[in-house]
């Protein structure tokens, strides 16, 4: 055993990082700082802004995207991406609206709408996992396909939903609009799954090194397929929620939403190449996005300038997280 005592010094590991440094490299830290700054700046711009009810009401406009973004975060951590959920929302909502207009009872129409979301997730999953195609290409394809199908079903017209079905955003639970409650509940649920279960842990492991994950006996294909299904079903729920909020459905429902979703995940510190990110980050980023957007509306910022601000925000956050990660990679 003398060989062990004569270990060369190279074998000694680097000392552990101090706690503050660990905290600083947490992916959500940047988001949280920006959120605090955003609230502060908004408060300075307009006194109305700090009204919590106003912020909650504003949030309902983004809640559906935010809900999907939570699941999308898990997909990205797993090393894949899904750009089709906004189109999925539109197609599910169109199928639902068209069916109920044709006389199908609403609960049945909802169920079929959700089932269609599941089918769309399955199609993505089959192509990405079954055929081993890159998810970014596959879902750009299905994004176009699903949106096109929605247009075929709904045409150019709006399909109205019955009066009683309208207004999911006006239902209050303990003073909070229902979509926001759903968002918070889902965030807590998925946060626990991602952070505390084997399923969640294996998503990180697959996203970090899929080859090693397979060698460790992790069924990566099965897990990734499950994630695509989950995005599919949650997107269709979000689509039908949007139908209820707007009171009518058109093929362009949620147009461009995929970018908002990716924006939320990225702003929350999710690493685009997988393996890192948290539900908390996306949760905070959703609020950040709402605060910044509504803050600018309240402050009468030109829409063009608003876009510039959002774009810059995204770039800054990506640079920041990449910088932090590259420092810790070594």
């Amino acid at each position: 055993m003398s060989a062990i005592e004569t270990q060369p010094a190279v074998q000694d590991a680097a000392p552990a990082r101090p706690r503050w440094q660990v905290l600083l490299v947490r992916p959500e830290t940047m988001t949280f700082v920006l959120l605090v700054l955003g609230i502060f700046a908004g408060g300075l711009l307009s006194p109305f802004f700090l009204d919590i009810n106003y912020i909650l009401k504003s949030f309902t406009l983004y809640a559906e995207f935010a809900i999907v973004a939570l699941v999308l975060t898990m997909v990205i951590i797993g090393g894949e991406i899904d750009l089709s959920p906004a189109a999925n929302m539109a197609l599910s909502a169109c199928i639902f609206a068209w069916l109920q207009q044709a006389g199908v009872p609403i609960p049945v129409a909802v169920l079929i709408g959700l089932a269609s979301g599941l089918v769309m997730g399955t199609i993505n999953g089959l192509m990405v996992i079954g055929l081993q195609l890159p998810s970014i290409i596959v879902t750009i394809g299905t994004l176009t396909l699903y949106r096109g199908l929605a247009q075929i079903i709904a045409g150019d017209k709006s399909i109205r939903v019955p009066e009683w079905f309208i207004g999911v955003d006006r239902i209050m639970v303990a003073g909070i609009p229902l979509p926001v409650v759903i968002f918070i509940a889902l965030a807590i649920g998925l946060g626990v799954v991602l952070g505390g279960t084997i399923f969640g842990r294996q998503i990180y492991q697959i996203g970090t090194n899929e080859v090693a994950a397979r060698h460790a006996g992790i069924r990566s294909a099965r897990i990734k397929f499950g994630l695509f299904l989950l995005v599919g079903i949650v997107a269709s729920i979000a689509g039908i929620m949007t139908a209820s909020r707007l009171g009518s459905v058109r093929y362009d429902l949620g147009l461009g939403g995929e970018l908002q979703m990716v924006l939320m995940a990225m702003l929350g510190g999710t690493y685009i190449f997988g393996g890192r990110g948290t539900i908390l980050g996306t949760f905070l980023a959703a609020w950040l996005l709402v605060i910044v957007s509504t803050g600018m509306i309240v402050a009468n910022v030109l829409p063009a300038v608003q876009l510039v601000v959002l774009g810059s925000l995204l770039i800054v956050s990506i640079i920041a997280t990449n910088f932090i990660y590259s420092r810790t990679q070594r």
Binding site: T6, V10, G196, Q205, T208, H215, G275, Q329
Partner: protein
Amino acid sequence: MTNAATTTADTPLISARGISKQFAAIEVLRDVDLDLGRGEIHALLGENGAGKSTFAKILAGVHRPSRGSLALNGTPVEVTSPIVAQKLGITLIHQEPISFPDLSVAENLVLGRTGGSPLGRVPWARITRDANQLMNLLGIRIDVTRPMRGLSIADQQMVEIARALASDSRLIIMDEPTAPLTPNEVETLFGIARRLRDEGRTIVFITHRLEEVRALCDRVTIFRDGSKIATEEIGKLSDADIIRLMIGRPLKEYMHKTRAAIGEVALKVEGLTLPGVFSDISFEVRKGEIVGLGGLVGAGRTDVARALFGVAPATSGTVTINGKAEVITEPSQAIALGLAFVPEDRAVAGIFRTLSVEENITAAVPGQIAPGGMIKRALERTLAQDSVRKLRIRLASLRQPIGELSGGNQQKAILARWLLTDPSVLILDEPTRGIDIGVKAEFYDMIGELAAAGRAILLISSELPELLALCDRVLVMSEGRLTANLSRAEATQESVMRAAVPQTRETIAA
């Protein structure tokens, strides 16, 4: 002019002096002196990792030497990049030629040397004419306007050789060019090599096949453990001499094996075949037994291990584990059956670099850390801590990313991962590669202890002393086939090497 003439007569084309190369802290090449004359075919021989390819890459500007100097025609030169090498007339031809598959053969030939200004017109007619001329010169019949894609490996190599001639290379280095070729193609290649030699060019030929060295080469240089051992005319060495020079190093003393009681068969493999990769592999490993699997890189050893573990399943053959026939198509299945596999390439197939050490250690045993689905941190911590203590893993914290640990400690963590699964059969693929001597000794002790505890161990290693010291039996693979099954008494450096070096089919049959 007279001066130049004397230079041509006496001085070698290339003379290397004191060439050394370090990668990180590991010295892979030590003080190599070598002269290559004009108009000779010079073979470089050696075991895997002996340094011959590294030396070739230094000549070709792929690597820069840590120390030492090169002279071309007696003039000191710095070969700082492959482009510089090309300008100096040195070309390295890779085993799997690197080319642009969608460009035409002619375009590949003139790559980087189209001439003219960046915005000028491409002189297609001239390129095609020159390319045809070159091909005729070599006596190769390839349509130069067709794309590279779809050409056989042999033809692609010919194109590379033609490219070397197009830039009028004086030194052409071929790194195991014959491995993917058929006998006829090898003959064509040899014919061209001889012609080039007769024109006064120098050819460096790297191979594992002794009969090819005999058939083609004038002189041979043998490398071992990063040093040049000998340079000799081929006629003066017998095959036995060459093999002895290639492997003749003393057994390291620290390796000792505690004999374990050998029990019943734990893993039995019959006729395992994956077409084009390995065929008809049959062997068994008993409880408490360490069976070595030797051979050269590319012999198919890792592929067999991957097939057994379900990473890339074999297409035919049977695998019996603890007496039950099993078909394994997924690693998770293999793990459930009591198999464990420490892969050769730790960074690619082993570690989750940015994740914590404890997460890495417990990755294969989700059931043990999350009995009810939710991960119990305390349970995970205890398991990881036990492993760290048992395997003496040196770290600052269980929560630090595994990428921050040294290679040896990363490897221990991977071994720890598999020990948690309590495997009955453990497959170790080059477990001590890139690990310091001190930690290697620890690994040898651990492997011995694991066998003593009644586990069956299949140890893949390219290090002969390791195989000979640790194993109860040594299997040898060559070109996808099992060529030897040697008992501890029969296994010597010579017998293993003889089985590992590819022979012509007749020799094997005889």
